[in-house]
Subunit: 305 residues, 2 copies
């Protein structure tokens, strides 16, 4: 039947928006490895930069500004991917700061689109089945950004912090407003007023908005230590009701496993629990990250069926 075919050819589209070094790639990588590159395609919309690093030096705005990006072309490409069509995506090389030869992207079953501005326009938002905003506390993000940009992009710590200060008004104006467009807001942070050892993973606070259907996890929370893991009905900053799922970094491994298994079984999949979940860049592991990724996997697979 024509209609069914058309639907089947369309990928499930997941957006992961957030400021520079908010953890988008770490979150994405575990999902791509879990499903396999033959099933999932990931791309970064920071490739839609209109100017290279040299050209940006003479401009009155930073790379965060919509005017510094081909936003219309990004929207067009998101629409094409959402309807199952290939795109010739521009390529920005973070190590050289140059724009280069574009690459062909053909959508598979699932497409993850991460970057600074994937939820910055109404038309872009409409292309996604599930939308995520990464919202770490600024001091955590500063740490992450300094670590990454000094080790992988060849900057000095001072240069990174100066650049962050310069970008702050545009983070405020263009990046953070995307939080409002997210079905799930993810915040990795230490638990305030606790003196956990430094090796304790960050906790995850997941704001699950009723804009999409989340798995029913209420039964899980009667079995686990409610101080370490709980679901709480509250109002978001903007007053909207939301389910807040807290997974503390100090949660016991067995409690985390109960929750992981509950989400996994809600998926009704017959594949193995993917070992890539929760893996941090430096070979450490985080249960709060694993649970966040599992929840996103749930939404990807749920939209597929």
């Amino acid at each position: 039947m024509k209609l069914a075919d058309t639907r089947q050819d369309r990928p499930v589209m997941l957006a992961i928006a957030g400021d520079s070094a908010a953890g988008k790639t770490t979150l994405t990588d575990g999902l791509v490895e879990a499903l396999g590159a033959h099933r999932i395609t990931s791309l970064c919309v920071d490739d839609y930069h209109r100017y290279d690093r040299e050209e940006r030096k003479g401009l009155p705005f930073t790379a965060l500004h919509p005017d510094c990006n081909y936003v219309t072309i990004m929207e067009q490409h998101l629409q094409l991917l959402a309807t199952g069509q290939p795109i010739l995506k521009p390529v920005y090389d973070h190590s050289t700061g140059l724009l280069g030869r574009p690459e062909l992207i053909e959508p598979t079953e699932f497409v993850i689109v991460e970057g600074l501005l994937p939820l910055s326009t109404k038309l872009a938002c409409a292309c996604f089945d599930v939308t995520v905003y990464l919202d770490p506390p600024e001091e955590i993000r500063r740490d992450w950004k300094v670590k990454r940009d000094t080790s992988k992009r060849g900057y000095t710590p001072e240069a990174v912090l100066t650049e962050m200060d310069k970008r702050e008004p545009e983070s405020e104006a263009f990046i953070r407003p995307q939080r409002a467009a997210a079905d799930i807001v993810v915040r990795f942070a230490p638990v305030p007023e606790r003196d956990d050892p430094p090796s304790t993973p960050l906790s995850a606070e997941l704001m699950l908005r009723p804009t999409i259907r989340h798995p029913d996890l209420t039964s899980v929370f009667s079995e686990v230590d409610s101080a370490a893991m709980h679901l709480k009905l509250l109002r978001d900053h903007d007053g909207r009701p939301v389910d807040a799922l807290h997974v503390h970094g100090h949660a016991a491994r067995e409690d985390s496993l109960v929750l992981e298994k509950a989400i996994w079984s809600a998926m009704k999949t017959d594949t193995e629990f993917p070992p890539s979940l929760g893996v941090l860049g430096d070979a450490a592991r985080s249960d709060p990250l694993a649970i966040t990724q599992l929840l996103l996997l749930y939404h990807l697979l749920d939209d597929r069926t």
Copy 2:
């Protein structure tokens, strides 16, 4: 009114297909200059090469082969332009043989798409209002190609001729079949069995297919020397009826002017006759070229109204 607006935002699309060095750029340049870059956008679909020059060396086909080009992306971009939308076009640099940073193309009132394969698929053809195929005799094209590729692209004459021989099976298989999809087939050639001085411009033979409405020129031909300029009903190679317009290179200037003015007045435009028409790359001028360009201008402006 919504419908009228939508139509108005769509450009008139003209395709100029033909083999390498068939005269596509010369024909295009006069039109772009006549209408002005603010009204007309031109692009070359040879930019959709999938591989750079170095990569092509290891491949069993040449740049003419559809597999050597992102044909699906070309089709997609032609559809976007035809519906008035911008594209981020790939860029192939003929001087270095490298693929580079893509460029934004925003359609204006008129879009000319020239290149090796703009009419190579049904979907691509459907994007155009007027389609042209340039069909010079092979010996003329060899001369043009050697001249251009040695002066502008740094090749030796031997290398150019070897490459042409290598490309011949793919010219046969993929380039020349596009002739069948053209509304107008243009052949610049010397008049056979005449001993014109070498400075005589090449004659133009324009096959005007009844697939689009051409201007009524019948009255013109009673006024001019019919040996130098005439319209003849004949059958094309493929047996289809066609009007063949011959403009000989030795035609008298005043006869050419009668025809030029007749086409110009059929356009009902109040602008000046554009001096860029008929200009050859080397500052020479050709009335047969001017008349060919005028006829294309007629079709562009006629489709606009």
